[in-house]
Symmetry: C3
Subunit: 661 residues, 3 copies
C-alpha cells in the first residue's frame, strides 16, 4: 500500500531536499512521483541532458527509503522545441495554441514525437537501474488536445477510406446528403472543423480518442524497452470535469488506453468542506478499478489543500484517504508536496504551502500515513465484487453531447445521478464500458443511462443479459441512434423497444409535468419530470408510473417488461434524485441484490475481501454529525482502533471493520 506525493526538486525555492525527505519520512510517505512535466529542466537544449534534479531526488529517496515513480516529462514541452518546430504547437479548430500552458502540442507531430522519444529513452535508461524506482508513469492526463489541423484532417480521411471503402456507404451512414455535405470524391472531403453534422463530429472525436490510445501505447513501449521487469507502468488518467472530477472522460477511451499499462492510475479532485460527499472518490475508484478488469489501482493525484475553497475541515483529509482504499486503491498520493511559488497553480496547494513548513494538513497526513504504514499490508489488494454495474460509453457520450438537453445538460449529468443514487443507498457498483471486455453475466443488475448511440450488436448484448435473467434499466434517449449517430429508422427506443416492451414517437421538454402521486412513495417536487419526456406507450410492458399533464393523455413514464428470464425497466424521462433511488432500489430488490439497507448517506458503507479472505467493511461518515451505526453493521473489529466496532462513527469519521464471515 503506497502513500505518496508528487515532488519537484526543480520548483523548490532553495536546496532543502534533505529536509523535505526527512519531513516526508516523518509523515510516513512511502512513494514520490517525479519528473513529469519537467522536460525544460531535464533537457535544457536539444539532446543536452541534465539529470541532476532527478539524481538528487533518487538519491534522497534512497537515503530515506522512499520509493519513486518516474514520469515521462512529455506533456509540457520545452521552449526550444516550440521555437525550433512551431508546428509542434497544436492546431485546434479555433487556431494554433501558444507556448505557455502544458498540453498544447500536437501529439502526432513527428518532430514532437522524435524529441519525446529522445527524452523518454534517455530518462528511463538513466533511472531504470536505480533501486528506488518502482515504476513509471507515461505522460500525464494525456488527451489529443483537440488537434484538428490539416495533417489530422488528412489522417482522418485516410482512416475513413480504410474503414469505409465506399463513399456511398459513408454518405448514407452519416447522412451527408443533407445541406449538400455529400462527398462525391475523397479529394473533396472537407475539414471537419466546420461541420454541423454530429456523425462527422463524433467520428472525428473517436479518431482523436484513438490518437491517445496509440500515443500511450507508443510511450509505454518506449519505457518498457528500458524498464526492469519488476517495475510497473501506469498513467494518470483524469475524469470528465465539471468544476471537479465528475464523470467519464470524453476525450479519452480509458478502457482502450489502459490496455498496455500494468496498473491503472487516476487523479480525483472533489468538492470539500460542506460539499464533501465522497461520491467522486467512489465513482473515480469504481471506474479506475474497471480499467484493468477489477484490479486494484493507484490514486496518483488527489487534493491535499487544493484550491482556495477546498481547504479541508479537520477530519476530512483522513476520511478521504480511507475512502480511496475502500474502493480498492493500492496507493493514495497528493498533488503535491508543497505549492509552486509562481504561475497558474500558485493557489493549487499541496500538503505544504510555499513556506514549506509543517501545518495542520501535514499533521493530518502524517496521522493517515501512520495508519497506512500499520494497516497497509492488511488492507492492500482488497477484492471488490459487486452485483450491480453502471454501463457507460464514450460513443454514447459524444453523441449525446452533440444534442445536449435544455439547460446544456450533458451525458455525465444524466449518468451521475444514477450512480449517485446507488452510492447514497450503499449499493456498490462497477463502472463498465463496451470497450472493457467485461462479462455481463457476473452482474444481477445493469443500469444503462442515456445509451444514445450504440450498434445493434451492442444493444443485443445488453438485451441478452436480461434475457438470461439479468435486470436491466435503460433511461430515456437510449437506443435512439446507431453507432454512427444516425437516428434509427425504427420505432423508438429502437433496438430496445422490443426488449423493453414499450415504444414512443413523440417527446418534448416537460413543463409542469409530474409523475402520478404515490409512485415510489413520493410526493411534491420529487414527482417532477426533468429535462426530457418521451410519450411512452407500452406494448408488452407493465406501467410503473405515468405522466400527469393538463393537455396530454397519461403516457407511461416508467415501465417494466419481462424479457426472457429477466426484466427490462425503461425510464422515459429524467426523474428526481429521490425517484431514481426509488426505481433503482426497487429493481435491485427484484434482482436479488443484497446491500446494507439500514444505512444510507451520509453513512457510507463500502466492502471487500481482504487477501486473508476476511470481509472488510469501511464505514464512512460524510457529515458533521456523529452517526449511529445500525447494529448489524457494527460487526467485527475496527482495524483502526483494534477494538470491537463502536456503535457510532464520529463526524467525518472512519471505521474499518474486519470480520471473518
Amino acid at each position: 500500500m503506497l502513500y505518496g506525493v508528487s515532488y519537484y526538486d526543480e520548483y523548490t525555492p532553495v536546496d532543502r531536499i534533505d529536509e523535505d525527505f526527512r519531513l516526508m519520512k516523518k509523515a510516513n510517505i512511502t512513494v514520490v512521483r517525479i519528473a513529469e512535466s519537467t522536460w525544460g529542466t531535464l533537457e535544457p537544449q536539444p539532446g543536452v541532458f541534465d539529470f541532476s534534479h532527478v539524481d538528487r531526488m533518487l538519491s534522497a529517496a534512497q537515503r530515506y527509503d522512499i520509493k519513486v515513480i518516474v514520469g515521462t516529462p512529455t506533456y509540457a514541452i520545452p521552449t526550444w522545441l516550440a521555437r525550433e518546430y512551431p508546428d509542434v504547437l497544436v492546431t485546434r479548430p479555433e487556431g494554433q495554441a501558444r507556448f505557455g500552458y502544458r498540453q498544447n502540442m500536437d501529439i502526432t507531430n513527428p518532430d514532437y514525437r522524435a524529441a519525446a522519444q529522445r527524452v523518454i529513452e534517455n530518462l528511463i535508461a538513466h533511472v531504470a537501474e536505480h533501486p528506488a524506482v518502482i515504476g513509471y508513469q507515461v505522460d500525464n492526463e494525456t488527451k489529443a488536445y483537440n488537434t484538428a489541423g490539416p495533417n489530422l484532417q488528412a489522417a482522418f480521411v485516410t482512416a475513413l477510406r480504410a474503414k469505409w471503402g465506399s463513399l456511398d456507404e459513408l454518405n448514407d451512414a452519416w447522412g451527408l446528403d443533407y445541406w449538400s455535405n455529400r462527398v462525391n470524391r475523397w479529394e473533396d472531403f472537407p475539414s471537419t472543423t466546420g461541420t454541423m453534422n454530429a456523425s462527422v463530429k463524433n467520428a472525428f472525436a473517436e479518431f482523436q480518442r484513438g490518437l491517445v490510445t496509440e500515443f500511450l501505447a507508443w510511450q509505454t513501449a518506449l519505457v518498457r524497452k528500458h524498464a526492469r521487469d519488476d517495475q510497473f507502468i501506469t498513467q494518470n488518467f483524469d475524469l470528465g470535469w465539471l468544476q471537479t472530477s465528475y464523470g467519464i472522460q470524453p476525450e479519452v477511451n480509458h478502457w482502450l488506453a489502459a490496455r498496455p499499462l500494468d496498473v491503472a492510475g487516476i487523479d480525483i479532485y472533489h468538492p470539500s468542506q460542506d460539499g464533501l460527499t465522497g461520491v467522486e472518490i467512489a465513482f473515480g475508484g469504481d471506474l479506475a478499478r474497471s480499467l484493468k478488469g477489477g484490479a486494484n489501482y493507484y490514486v496518483i493525484e488527489t487534493e491535499a489543500q487544493g484550491w482556495l475553497q477546498w481547504t479541508p475541515y479537520p477530519g476530512q483529509l483522513r476520511l478521504q484517504a480511507f475512502s480511496h482504499l475502500a474502493s480498492g486503491a493500492n496507493m493514495v498520493a497528493y498533488w503535491h508536496w508543497a505549492t509552486t511559488s509562481n504561475a497558474v497553480e500558485t493557489y493549487w496547494r499541496g500538503l505544504l504551502t510555499q513556506d514549506y513548513q509543517p501545518n495542520e494538513i501535514y499533521q493530518a497526513a502524517a496521522g493517515i500515513g501512520a495508519d497506512i504504514r500499520r494497516l497497509g499490508p492488511t488492507l492492500a489488494d482488497i477484492e471488490k465484487s459487486n452485483d450491480v454495474a453502471i454501463y457507460v460509453s464514450n460513443r454514447a457520450q459524444s453523441a449525446f453531447d452533440s444534442f445536449k438537453l435544455p439547460g446544456n445538460i450533458e451525458y455525465n449529468q444524466v449518468m451521475r445521478p444514477f450512480y449517485d443514487a446507488l452510492y447514497r443507498r450503499n449499493i456498490e457498483a462497477d463502472i463498465i464500458s463496451p470497450d472493457g471486455n467485461v462479462d455481463l453475466s457476473k452482474y444481477k443488475m445493469i443500469v444503462v443511462p442515456a445509451l444514445y448511440a450504440a450498434s445493434d450488436e451492442e444493444i443485443a448484448r445488453l438485451n441478452a443479459f436480461a434475457e438470461a435473467g439479468g435486470h436491466l434499466v435503460y433511461t430515456f434517449k437510449s437506443g435512439f441512434s446507431d453507432e454512427d449517430t444516425k437516428v434509427r429508422y425504427a420505432s423508438q427506443p429502437g433496438a430496445i423497444a422490443q426488449a423493453a416492451g414499450v415504444s414512443y414517437q413523440l417527446f418534448t421538454e416537460p413543463k409542469e409535468v409530474r409523475i402520478t402521486p404515490g409512485a415510489y412513495g413520493l410526493a411534491g417536487a420529487d414527482l417532477e419530470a426533468r429535462w426530457w419526456m418521451e410519450f411512452l406507450t407500452p406494448t408488452t410492458a407493465e406501467v410503473l408510473a405515468r405522466f400527469e399533464h393538463h393537455s396530454w393523455p397519461d403516457y407511461a413514464a416508467i415501465t417494466r417488461n419481462a424479457h426472457g428470464k429477466g426484466e427490462v425497466t425503461y425510464i422515459g424521462f429524467m426523474p428526481s434524485d429521490a425517484m431514481i433511488e426509488g426505481v433503482l432500489t426497487d429493481t435491485a430488490t427484484r434482482a436479488g441484490v443484497v446491500w446494507p439497507e439500514t444505512a444510507r448517506f451520509p453513512l457510507i458503507v463500502r466492502s471487500g475481501t481482504l487477501t486473508n479472505g476476511d470481509r472488510v467493511r469501511y464505514l464512512l461518515n460524510y457529515s458533521r454529525e456523529r452517526q449511529d451505526l445500525p447494529k448489524e453493521l457494527a460487526d467485527g473489529t475496527d482495524l483502526l482502533t483494534g477494538q470491537t466496532a463502536a456503535s457510532t462513527v464520529e463526524p467525518w469519521g472512519v471505521a474499518i471493520l474486519e470480520s471473518s464471515h
Copy 2:
C-alpha cells in the same frame, strides 16, 4: 389552396417514396416543395448532373396527383465547390466561414455565381415541362451572410463614389471628422469592419441588403428563362428571429427583394404549447401580404413538431393552420415531411419523426388536410382590407439597433408590442414599409414605432397623411436621425416636432418613473415607464399623460396634436403593454376604426372577403379554456361544421363563419 410539406428523397433512409406519397395523399397533402439545399446530390461533380432524386419525386407526385414546387439548391454549396474555389466561402468581419453549414457563401463571388447559374439553369430546364411542377422557389432564406471581405469593401466604395461624388459631403453626412475617421481620398477609405460609426455601419448594412435584392432578381431571371408561363416564382423569406420568428428581417429588405417574384412566400416558426398565442402567425402573415401589395401569399415553411419544446398540444396544429388562412395565406406547408436522421436538425421534427410512421401529429394534419380540401375553393384568395397599419423600416431598424436600449432592447422589441396590442384587441393591421409603394391614404390610422432614421421626405409623407385627416401615432426616438443616421441639428423630435406639437431636449433611462394614475384607466405596474423617457414639452399639443418622478417636473409623456384634418399622437417612452392598448384603442376610436370590441385575446377574430363576396370571420381560441362567443360575433354559418355558429369556441378551437353581410 395548397397544403404541403417539404420533401427530400435525398435524405430518406430507404426507398419508400411510394409509401411516402401514399401517406401524403391520405393526409390530403396537395403540394411538395423539393430540391432546395440538395446541390451536392444534384451535381455530384462540377457539371455532372444527377437528376434521379428529382425525377423520382416528380414522377411519384404525378402518380399521386400532388403538385411540386422546385427550389433552386443554391443556399447550401457542394463540397467540390468549396474545395475548388475556397473564396466562395464568405469572409465575414470575424473571418472566413468554414464548410459545413448552409448559407456560408459569398453570394457575390463570381465562381459561386457561375456554378449557381449552371445548376439553376440545368435543373429548371430539366423540370420545367413536367406537368406536376406548378412553380419555383429561388434560393432559400437568402441573406448576404454579412459578407464583408476586401472584394465587398471595394464594391462598397465604388457604390459610394457613384452615389456621393464628393467626399466632403460624405464626410459631413456621416460625421467622419470624429476620431479622425475623415476620408480625404477615396483610396484611403478604410474597411468598414472596424468602424465605430453607425452611419458607416448602416450604409454598409443597406448595401448588403441590396446584394440580396440583386441576387434574388438574378436568380428569378434565370429561372424565368426556362419556366412555363403558368408556373410561379416565389421565395421563402424569413422574419427577424428572437427565439422564434419575431419581427422584420434586418438583413433583407423584403419589400424590394419581393418585387421580381410572382408570389410572396414566408416561413413562420412560433412558440407552442402554453406559449402559442398566434401573434407570430398574424404578424408574419400581415407582413407577407404586404410584400406584393396585399396579394395572398404562401406559408412555405412552418412547424409541425419542430424543436423539442414545440411539440404541440392536441388541437394546436389545427388552430395554427387556420390562423394562417385567416391572414390571407393560400398555402400552408410544413417543414418537413419527416425528420433527418443525422446532423444539426435531428431535433427539428417534421410531421413524421425518423420512424416515418403516422403519429398523432400526422393524424391531426390529415384532418386539417381534409378540411382544406373541402373548403379550400371557398377560402382561397381571401381579400383583407384593414384601416390600420404599422409602419416599419429596415433603415430605422439598422439605425436603432446601432444604439440599443438598456437591456439590449432592439427595434423589433419596440415595434412588436404595438402590433401585439392591436392583435390582442382584434384590430387587424397591415405592415407597411417606405419601400412598399403603398398609398397611405387608404388607412385611417398609422402607427409608427421607433422611426429612428428617416429622411425629411419620408417623414413629410407620414405627416401629410395626418394633415389629410389620418391618425398618426409616433413613438419615442422617432425622427431623431436623418437617413444617414445623423442626429438632426434641430429640436427633437426633428421633422416630427411641428406635426406632433411637442419637443424635448433631455431624455434618460426611466427608473421609478410612473405615468399619472388614471391614464387610460390604469393603475399599478401598468403605469410604469420602460426603457426610455423623453422630457416632452408640448408646443401646440394636448397632454394625454404625464410622467411622475420625485426629482423632475411633470414632463409630458403622451401628447396629441391636431395636424391639418387629422391628429398626431406622440409617445415619449415605452409604455406598458396595457397602456399601449389604451393609447391605440383610444386613437382607433377617434379615427373611426371599427373592430370587434367585444372580443379580445385569447379569442382572436380575423376577417376578410371571400371571392364570392361574402364576409368570412375566423374565430380562433388561443387558450386551453372554452371561450364564449359574443352574440354579435356568432353570426353566420360555420364552414367547418356546416351549422349556424355555435355560442362557444372549443379550447384551441376554430370556427370559420361565413355571412353575406
Copy 3:
C-alpha cells in the same frame, strides 16, 4: 480657477462658432480644450496641414476672451496613416486592431512616431504664439493598448537581458521551471501572449506601463520645444474603469507618467441620479492631487449629461462641480460643449445635445460658472493637508488581478471599500504610491489594502513608518509575493509577519463565517466575512476580532501589534463596509487623527486652506433630503451666499464656509 468644455469646430454641423462662443461666454466658460483626436482634419494628407478649424477656434476664443488648451491629436490616427503603414495598428494578443476606433495604434511603431512628431511639432509651432493658448495636453487617456506583437516581444527580451543578465536568476525569480517554461537561451524566449505565469504577465504589464511613461515624456519634450514659457503641459489621465471611473489605472503608472508634466489632469466619470455619492469625485481628486506632490490639478473631462442614465437631477451638476473644487481642482471642464451627431458617442451627451440650444443643463452650468467667476480667485490653489493616506501600487494591482478573488473581485474592489469608508466618515485621505516619492512621515495613519506584490525594501519602508510612530493598517493578501509575483518562501504574511505580530499558513474562501458578535459594535450581516479568510495566529499581536465557524478553531481575524513607536493593524479577510468603518475610525482615533465626527455621509465635509490662509470647508449634501448641519460645522461665512453658515444644507446642496481659525 478654470471652468471649461472641450470644443470641436470640426464636428459642428454648421458654422456657428460665433454663436457657440457667445453662449459659452454667457455661461461663464473660461477655457476650451481643442484639437485632441482631430488628426484626420488637421493633416488631411501626409504632411499637408490644414489649421483652419484650429485658427477659427483660437480667433473666436480670443474675441470672447476665453482661454484655450491645445491637445495633440495623436490618440486617433488618420485614415491615410493606417492605409500607408498597416503596422501602425496595434497587434494585441488576440490579433491586430482594425481602423475605426481611437487608441488602436502601436505607440512604439516608428512610422506612427514619425507621423505623430510631424503633426505635433507643426501644430504646436502653429499655435504657440497665440495669446489665447495657455497650455497643452499631450495625447489623451494614453495607454499601451496592450501592444504585444513580435516587435514588442523582442523589445521586452532586450529589456530583460539588460535587467537580469543571467537567465538562471530570471528562471528562478519567475519560477519558469514549472511546466517546462524554463528559458535556457535568450533566443528561446517565447512570446508572453500565451503565458500562464503571472510573473511573466506582470513583468510584461510593467513593461507596457513603461511604454506609456516614455511616450508621454517624448510628447512632452516635443511640445516643450515650441511652447512658450508661460504655457503649461498636462495630460488627461483616466482611472481604472468599472462601469464608471473607479480605481487606479492598471495600464498606466500615473505617478511616473506625470513626472514630465507641469500639471496633473484627470477625467472623472461617475454614477448620477440616485447613484451619485461623490466618492468617485473625491477619489479621483485625491489621486490626481498626489501625482504632482499635492499640487492642484485639472479635471479635464467630466460629465455634463453623459450617458442616458446619467442625466442629472436638478442640483446635481452644481454639487459635482464644487465637489471637484473641494478636492483641490483648479479646473472643472465638461466633455463636451455639445454632442456628436454620428458615431459611437452619439449618446455621450455634453452640455448641449445635437440641437445646440440652451437647455436645463446649460442653465445649471451657467449658474455654476457665475459662482466660479466670482469665487474663483478665493477658491483657487486651495491647499489640502491630510493625516491619512491610502497606499496603492500598480505592481500589487497587476499581481493581485492575476489571481482574482472568487466572484472575479479585483484589486480596486478591495482598495476602494477602504477609501470609501474613510470618505463616508469624512476622514480625508491622500492616495499614495511607491512611485510617488512621498515622505511617509507626514502621515499619522496609512492604510495598505492588498499589497500583494512588493519588494522587501518597499515593505520595510512601510514597516518603518509604524516603527517611527505611525499607524499602519494592512489587509489580507498583503506581503504574500515579492516584486516578481513570487510567493515568499516564508511564513505569511511574509515581510509583514514580524511587524504585524501575526502569521498564517492556511486560508480559504469564507462561507458562513462570521466575526465574533460585538466587534466594533456590529451585529447581523455586518459581521460576515467576504471573499477571503486567512487562518491568523498572533505571535505578538493583540486579537481585535476572531472568526466564528462550526468546524475551524477561532482563528484571529483582525489583530493589532505594537511596532516600535507605532502600531500595525492586520485584517485577515474582507470585512463588511460597516466593519471597515469600525477598524479605520478606531485606528484613526488611536493615531490622533482629527475629523468632523459629527457628520457622515450623505453629509460630506471636505476642507483645505485658502491662499489667504483661511480655512475653507465644503459641506456637500449627497442626498435628496435636506441635511442638518451639526453646530460645530456651521462655522464661518458661506461664500456662496455671503451669509453666516445656515443650519441646513439643501438637497444636493453645497455650502462653502470660510473661517479664519
